[in-house]
């Protein structure tokens, strides 16, 4: 077949060119449609949130004729909607959890990679099991434990499971990364009289920055977006994180779409900004974490 094809290709050069152009248009068109479909919700949400409920219900797809930010003013000025509170809770939970995951993951990962002690491998396996354990099966049990110990429904409640569930992947990534660093680095530091702790934080930590960034990126999205554990562990509306607050909010205003859209966009805004500003690093980090994990 291939012998037949080559000469015919040469003969029909202009035809071939047209074909290429058609193909180019087709490919680009399909991909543009794909890309647009991925951000269409954002666009639709945004311009629809500038409509009044009445206007939206009459025409769900048209652009607003007299756009107004009244929906935003409304949801942000009313404290009962807990928009600001939920944003604050999400920020607090995410920042503390991710910091703890990075610090603990770094320390444990380093120790498991470098320090010989009895039980080192056992500990590694126990943490690695966390990657295999179906976390979603803990949904009910974790509620029981937290309820019995009085740890549920506190401002710090969610930090405990988020850190615990984030540790295995962090430890796994750090351990692998540290093993590839030459020991000479620590030896030189030790000869200079640096203590274990000092070497850990002033010599090793900077070298691990790339992998810790990866861990941080994955966990930031993980913590910010987490829903099911927040659902069972937090009852108090004032402690709701953003996804939880949104399920409440939409239940309350199920018929007022523009208002829901304004709330969705407002609470999505931090993650959208974060993503579009650092998209290159984020995509790289998420992919590296996914493939290695």
């Amino acid at each position: 077949m291939s012998e037949n094809k080559t000469p015919s290709k040469a003969k029909n050069r202009p035809d071939h060119k047209v074909k290429t152009r058609v193909l180019a248009v087709f490919l680009n068109l399909v991909l543009i449609i794909f890309s647009l479909s991925c951000i269409f919700p954002l666009i639709w949400l945004f311009y629809s949130s500038l409509k009044e409920k009445r206007v939206f219900n009459a025409d769900i797809i048209g652009l607003p004729k007299s756009p107004s930010f009244s929906n935003y003013v409304d949801i942000l000025s009313n404290k009962d909607y807990h928009i600001f509170a939920s944003l604050f809770n999400s920020f607090r939970t995410t920042i503390i959890s991710v910091s703890l995951i990075i610090i603990c993951g770094f320390i444990v990962g380093y120790i498991l990679a470098r320090v010989k002690f009895k039980g080192n491998r056992l500990l590694y396996v126990i943490f690695l099991m966390g990657l295999l354990i179906p976390i979603h099966s803990l949904l009910v049990p974790i509620y029981v434990v937290f309820n019995n110990t009085g740890l549920n429904n506190q401002w710090f409640t969610l930090i405990i499971p988020y850190v615990a569930f984030g540790l295995p992947i962090a430890i796994f990534l750090v351990e692998g990364y540290v093993k590839a660093i030459p020991v000479a680095l620590e030896e030189a530091a030790a000869i200079d009289g640096s203590s274990f702790t000092r070497t850990l934080f002033t010599v090793i930590l900077p070298t691990c920055k790339p992998i810790l960034t990866t861990v941080g990126i994955i966990q930031t999205f993980g913590c910010w977006n987490e829903f099911s554990f927040a659902l069972v562990l937090i009852r108090d509306q004032a402690l709701h994180t953003v996804p939880l607050a949104m399920t409440q909010f939409t239940g309350q205003f199920s018929s007022d779409y523009p208002k829901i859209m304004a709330a969705l966009l407002t609470t999505m805004a931090p993650i959208i900004v974060f993503y579009f500003v650092f998209s290159k690093q984020i995509i790289k980090g998420m992919v590296a974490g996914a493939v290695k994990g």
Binding site: V140, A190, T197
Partner: protein, 298 residues
């Protein structure tokens, strides 16, 4: 390692103490607790009655649990075909020299996977809405107004309608993974294949797939693990309904435990979910290991 830099034992113990305690408390204690309560008839109140293995006997015969498990498996297959399959096709297109704006496609395509499943569920809930939904609006637009439905109330369609947002959300994610796998392969191989007269389809199946087989298998394991834990967007969209037609395991455990306050049976379901998921995810990972081993190390 030099002896002089060997840290003291108590220093190590101190560093390890907090992470281990936290990890054990949030992962193993709940598992053990669930195992314990699964032997009791317990409605969440102060009274518990030991009933031995009764909860497990119920679980094995519980149609809803196994239907839910079936729905998880349905999602796994739908997502392997929909997410990885479509992502692969899109990658083939994107890698063409004729395509422009590659970086933008990647950035936009990846975007939905960074959004919480709750938001994805809420947004698609609006798409599917009867009066104000885009789906029905579109059907009216193309003159098929008689086909409009209260979509999520259709028992036969609901799983598909639940799977679509999930597929849509993660196509870009797998797309990016596959792109990076292909770009790490020596590009000359593709050119040689082209010179040999292989067409795009042949190149995809016989050249690209074998070269990125390991990555594709990683994608499959991610898909399996991701869909066994499906919960968030279904909770938002249908709560498992109509009836139990879109129920998944995690949601069923949640419903029994919190809506019906049946904590004893809920614990048994949790242990059931644990073993079933472990078996499926572990089994797939084992298979993948076997398949990747043929060609030596990863």
């Amino acid at each position: 390692m030099l002896n002089s830099i060997r840290p003291k034992k108590w220093v190590i113990a101190l560093y390890l103490l907090f992470p281990i305690l936290l990890y054990v408390f949030a992962v193993f204690i709940p598992l053990i607790t669930a195992g314990f309560y699964s032997f009791f008839d317990w409605k969440g109140g102060p009274n518990k009655t030991f009933i031995g293995l009764d909860n497990y006997a119920t679980l094995i015969k519980d149609d809803v649990f196994w239907t839910s498990f079936g729905h998880n498996i349905y999602l796994v297959f739908a997502c392997i075909i929909g997410q990885i399959g479509l992502a692969f096709i899109i990658v083939l297109m994107i890698n063409s020299r004729l395509v422009k704006f590659k970086a933008i496609h990647r950035t936009f395509g990846f975007f939905p996977s960074t959004i919480s499943a709750v938001y994805i569920g809420l947004i698609w809930l609006m798409f599917y809405d009867y009066k104000r939904g885009i789906l029905n609006w579109f059907l009216e637009l193309i003159g098929k107004g008689d086909q409009t439905k209260v979509w999520l109330n259709e028992p036969k369609l609901v799983m598909l309608l639940i799977a679509i947002p999930l597929i849509w959300q993660f196509i870009g994610y797998y797309m990016v993974i596959i792109i990076s796998a292909i770009s790490s392969v020596d590009q000359e191989i593709f050119e040689v294949a082209e010179l040999d007269g292989a067409n795009a389809f042949q190149r995809a199946i016989y050249v690209i797939v074998p070269l990125i087989k390991n990555t594709l298998l990683v994608c499959v394991t991610l898909c399996v693990a991701g869909n066994m834990k499906a919960f968030d967007h279904i909770f938002v969209m249908t709560k498992g309904g109509p009836g139990n037609d879109s129920m998944v395991m995690a949601l069923y455990g949640y419903k029994i435990s919190f809506a019906q306050q049946n904590m004893g049976y809920g614990s048994a379901i949790s242990i059931g979910i644990f073993f079933v998921s472990l078996l499926v995810i572990g089994g797939v990972q084992f298979l993948v290991k076997m398949l990747t081993k043929e060609k030596g190390e990863i």
